[in-house]
C-alpha cells in the first residue's frame, strides 16, 4: 500500500490573513509507509487563530515522531490509538486554554488529523473541519461539532437547510476555548484506490459530492503534482462560488 499526497491552502477572497495550518508527514517503517495528516482552522472571531492552529499542528507532528513512532512497535490497535490521540489532543487543548487565560486572549482553532498505518485509518477530530473518503461515492468520516451539525444529526434540519443557515459557523467544540474538549474518533480499514481528504470548512461549504468525486477520484490522480492541481482547481471553484473564508485541504490517495 502506497500513498500519494498533496495539499493546498489559500487565504481566500476576503480575509486579511490565512489562519489555517496543515501538515503531512510520511515515514518509512518496517511495517510499511505510515502517514500523518492534519488540518487546523484558526478561528477568525478570536485573536491569534493562526497561532493556535500552528501550535496544534506542530504539537501533533512532534507527538507523531516521538510517541507514535514508538507505539507502532509495541503493537497498536484502535483502542490504543484512540486513547493516545485523545490524550495528546486533550493536553494541547489545555495548554492553549491556559495560554489564553494568561494573556486574556482566546486562542481557538479546529483540529482534524488522520493517521494511515498498517492498513488502518485513524481519525481524531474537534470542530467543523472535515475528513472524507472519496471514491465512486463520497463518505464523510467526521461529524461536525456544530449547532447545525447537531440539528442535522438529530433529524431536525435537512442538509440543504443547514447549508443555507446563517448559524452554520457556531461551534459546539473547538480547541483552546474551554479546559475540556470532546474528541471525535473514527477508524476503518483503508480503502484502496480512494482518496482521503481533510479540509477546513472554507473548502467544503461550497462543494458537493459530485465535485469531490469527479476531481479527486482515482482516475484523475497520477502523482502529487496532479493531486495538487486538482485541489487548486477545487479551491478556485470554491472562491468563484462565493466562499469568503480561508480554504485549506490535504488529500491522500491510496494505491
Amino acid at each position: 500500500m502506497t500513498f500519494v499526497q498533496s495539499y493546498y491552502s489559500d487565504i481566500g477572497t476576503t480575509r486579511k490573513s490565512n489562519e489555517d495550518s496543515l501538515a503531512i508527514v510520511k515515514a518509512e517503517t518496517d511495517v510499511g509507509e505510515v502517514v500523518l495528516t492534519i488540518v487546523c482552522d484558526g478561528m477568525g472571531g478570536y485573536a491569534y487563530g493562526e497561532v493556535a492552529s500552528k501550535y496544534c499542528v506542530e504539537q501533533i507532528v512532534t507527538w507523531f515522531k516521538k510517541v507514535f513512532s514508538q507505539l507502532l512497535y509495541q503493537g497498536i490497535n484502535d483502542a490504543v490509538v484512540n486513547w493516545e490521540l485523545r490524550r495528546v489532543i486533550t493536553r494541547i487543548n489545555r495548554e492553549l486554554a491556559e495560554a489564553g487565560n494568561m494573556t486574556k486572549v482566546k486562542l481557538g482553532c479546529t483540529l482534524t488529523t488522520a493517521i494511515f498505518c498498517q492498513g488502518r485509518c485513524y481519525i481524531a477530530h474537534v470542530g467543523d473541519s472535515r475528513a472524507y473518503r472519496v471514491g465512486t461515492e463520497l463518505c464523510q468520516l467526521t461529524k461536525d461539532q456544530t449547532l447545525i451539525g447537531k440539528l442535522v444529526e438529530t433529524g431536525k434540519m435537512s442538509k440543504e437547510q443547514a447549508r443555507l443557515d446563517k448559524r452554520k459557523n457556531k461551534l459546539l467544540e473547538c480547541m483552546g476555548i474551554t479546559s475540556n474538549v470532546e474528541v471525535f474518533f473514527y477508524s476503518e480499514d483503508i480503502v484502496k484506490n480512494n482518496t482521503y481528504l481533510l479540509c477546513s470548512d472554507g473548502f467544503w461549504h461550497e462543494l458537493d459530492q459530485d465535485d469531490l468525486c469527479r476531481y479527486l477520484n482515482a482516475d484523475s490522480i497520477s502523482d502529487s503534482e496532479a493531486m495538487r492541481m486538482r485541489l487548486h482547481f477545487l479551491v478556485e471553484q470554491v472562491k468563484f462560488r462565493g466562499e469568503r473564508d480561508n480554504i485549506s485541504a490535504v488529500a491522500i490517495f491510496v494505491r
Binding site: V31, Y48, L72, M102
Partner: protein, 64 residues
C-alpha cells in the same frame, strides 16, 4: 459501553505504564510513558510538510 471500558478490554498488548484515566482526568501532567524501543524498528521520516502562516508562537504572545 463507555470509552474507559472499551479501552480496558483492548489494552492487553499495550505496554503503557500509566493507569487508565477518565477523559476528565487526562491532562498534561500525565505524560505518555512508553518504553524506549526505538531500536525495535525503523521510523524514517521521508516527507515532512508543515504549512503555517505566522512566525508568532504562544510564548511570544505570553511575553507581550
Amino acid at each position: 459501553m463507555n470509552y474507559e471500558g472499551f479501552v480496558q478490554m483492548n489494552y492487553s498488548n499495550y505496554k503503557q505504564k500509566s493507569t487508565i484515566l477518565s477523559s476528565e482526568e487526562m491532562d498534561d501532567t500525565e505524560t505518555t510513558e512508553v518504553e524506549d524501543c526505538s531500536s525495535d524498528g525503523r521510523f524514517d521520516i521521508v516527507l515532512e510538510i508543515v504549512s503555517v502562516n505566522t512566525e508568532l508562537s504562544i510564548e511570544d504572545i505570553i511575553k507581550r
